[in-house]
């Protein structure tokens, strides 16, 4: 079956350093209501629901089952969850729609990083035998990659500062962003990365509605058609990889059809300035491509939602008529270990 699937709605929270006054479901629910309101759909109209989150962030078990309270799961719904960024939940929903089992899907994801020490929490996703016992935090691992890029002549500290400045300046147009405008490049966190090279730590949620074929045209004036999605992973041992490149991103992009025609927009999930350098190189993006007009993950990086937000932002740009063909990228794991690429297009104008 060859079905056309589109992103027809997208909503996100205002991303903030802490949302301790809300439980996860209290934080998530307004976003679910907003994304459904954009389409006029009710929970009962949705064919498939898929979510992404990680219990490690808030330090509480099975939190995703409680988040379902915000969806309205009675009478019983068709539902699934990935312990990953919501971009991977979107991938699952997309394949579900491709099979013809459903015509619409609700995809949501959320992360509350404020309750715990995020840099340490993320060490728990590392190889438990050789790496995790050393507790190398997320900034340290990104810094190793940044130094490798500097040594290779791919970037330098002023160039990284320029990536940070461009992202936060673009974020001034994004009311949801956590960090925007003029942000000092700051002191080293783990050298060569400074505070300005690192994403803000914060809480947030996002949701997307997918629809197939004519249903998408009914629900949205200019659907963002998903032309392809693919995701790939690198060897888990950092010492095996060339940290200055991202062959998994390039392969995912190739399989998603990204290289068949140029894109005009790229929403890259690059939490660290240095990772944008890697991704631009891996994807062959030239200066003609508008990269992260939303400000990207350097402006707001709600862990587990930031990748889905890249797809949502790219789709919203198509829906607003600001883009005709966009690439959206999501990552997970240390030093861009896992990468997902989606290619989105609007109808010809």
């Amino acid at each position: 079956m060859n079905r056309e699937i589109a992103v027809v709605a997208f909503a996100q929270t205002d991303h903030r350093r802490t949302s301790e006054e809300f439980s996860e479901v209290e934080m998530l629910m307004p976003v679910l209501h907003e994304v459904l309101a954009q389409t006029g759909l009710k929970t009962a109209d949705i064919g498939f629901t898929c979510s992404g989150s990680s219990d490690y962030l808030a330090g509480r078990a099975f939190s995703f089952t409680l988040a379902l309270d915000g969806v309205g799961a009675w009478p019983p719904i068709s539902e699934s969850h990935v312990e990953m960024d919501g971009a991977w939940a979107l991938y699952e929903a997309w394949t579900k729609l491709l099979t013809g089992d459903a015509d619409t899907a609700l995809v949501y994801s959320y992360g509350k990083s404020s309750p715990g020490p995020l840099r340490d929490v993320l060490t728990r996703q590392l190889d438990p035998y050789y790496v995790a016992p050393l507790w190398p935090d997320s900034v340290a691992l990104a810094a190793l990659q940044a130094q490798a890029l500097i040594d290779a002549g791919d970037t330098d500290e002023p160039a990284l500062a320029a990536v940070a400045a461009r992202s936060r300046t673009d974020a001034t147009a994004n009311s949801h962003a956590q960090l925007r405008g003029s942000v000092a490049h700051g002191d080293y966190v783990v050298r060569p990365l400074r505070t300005g090279d690192c994403p803000p730590i914060g809480d947030g949620a996002a949701a997307v509605v997918l629809a197939a074929g004519e249903r998408a045209r009914e629900l949205c004036d200019r659907p963002a058609w998903i032309r392809g999605v693919d995701h790939r992973i690198e060897a888990h041992s950092l010492g095996v990889r060339d940290l200055t490149d991202s062959p998994s991103t390039r392969l995912a992009a190739e399989r998603a059809g990204a290289f068949e025609r140029p894109v005009d927009t790229a929403e890259l999930h690059a939490p660290f300035t240095s990772q944008e350098v890697v991704l631009r190189k891996a994807l062959g993006l030239d200066d003609g491509v508008r990269v992260n007009p939303s400000g990207g993950a350097l402006a707001a990086n709600p862990v587990m939602a930031a990748g889905l937000i890249r797809i949502g932002e790219a789709a919203a740009r198509i829906q607003r008529g600001e883009s005709d063909r966009a690439l959206a990228h999501a990552t997970s794991g240390p030093c861009l270990q896992q990468n997902l690429v989606a290619v989105l297009e609007g109808d010809p104008r």
Binding site: S23, M29, D69, P117, W135, A140, A148, R191, S237
Partner: protein, 313 residues
Amino acid sequence: MPEVLKAPLAVEFPFTRSLGPVQSAFLTGLRERVVLGVRTGDGRTLVPPVEYDPVTAEEIRDLVEVAPTGTVTTWAWNHAPRRDQPLDTPFAWALVRLDGADTALLHALDAPGPHAVHTGMRVRVRWAEERTGAITDIACFEPYDGDPAQPTGADREFEDPITGIVAPARLDYTYSPGRAQSAYINALAEHRNVGERCPSCHKVYVPPRGACPTCGVATSEQVEVGPHGTVTTFCIVNIKAKNLDIEVPYVYAHIALDGAGLALHGRIGGIPYDQVRMGLRVEPVWTEGARYPDHYRPTGEPDADYDTYRELL
């Protein structure tokens, strides 16, 4: 709005993991101050070693010794070490390609400052004084300006090999239950049970979570329920839980507090266990200083009619 509650929450677990043949040899080797790699089908030597070739997925078991000296392939200066990291003084994280290896190992590098570290610098292993068969048997790397050290030529079959590791992990959180549950817990401190009514289906949820799971909408109208309630169903617990000073058998029950749209659960006391029944009317018993009822006891009212609680089972 009253302040939301907050409390420290430590999540701690001693992860106990078994090792495969390659990991076992590598970690046992570290205990004996020997660094082992594994050879791939195309002749590369991977350190740290893995059991499957990351390129071909071919099973690999050919262990080879490499030197405890090597070269930094990339590094990052960590001026503020975090808890549980290898050194508590400023150090460099480094990927080190040991002499004889084709891949790099991540560890800490002890150096006086970032000026003393560069990609390409020569380093050697500093062994931990006490070694147990873990990656931390390498205390760290240290600068070294000599020639590659020679492998020890040690036998790769060690006496008393390590077959597993215990990797303790602790993360310290500050837990907040959010608005609805904070309000519920605060009311409990005043010995009141407060639920929230769904604006759509009008059901009263207790404890409230801020959302109606049926309608998927926010709940906010607070409704006091109880204190009396009805046992809707129950079970008899015959096995004593560790550190629990309640005599078995005892009864654990679903209790529909008056005015609540669903039952919560609690222990039934003040009545022989074999006399507890569906429809029994109960009330909470609070103990001094407790933030929730210790148990529920019979009120002495006539039993509730089945039809009054059949929807709440």
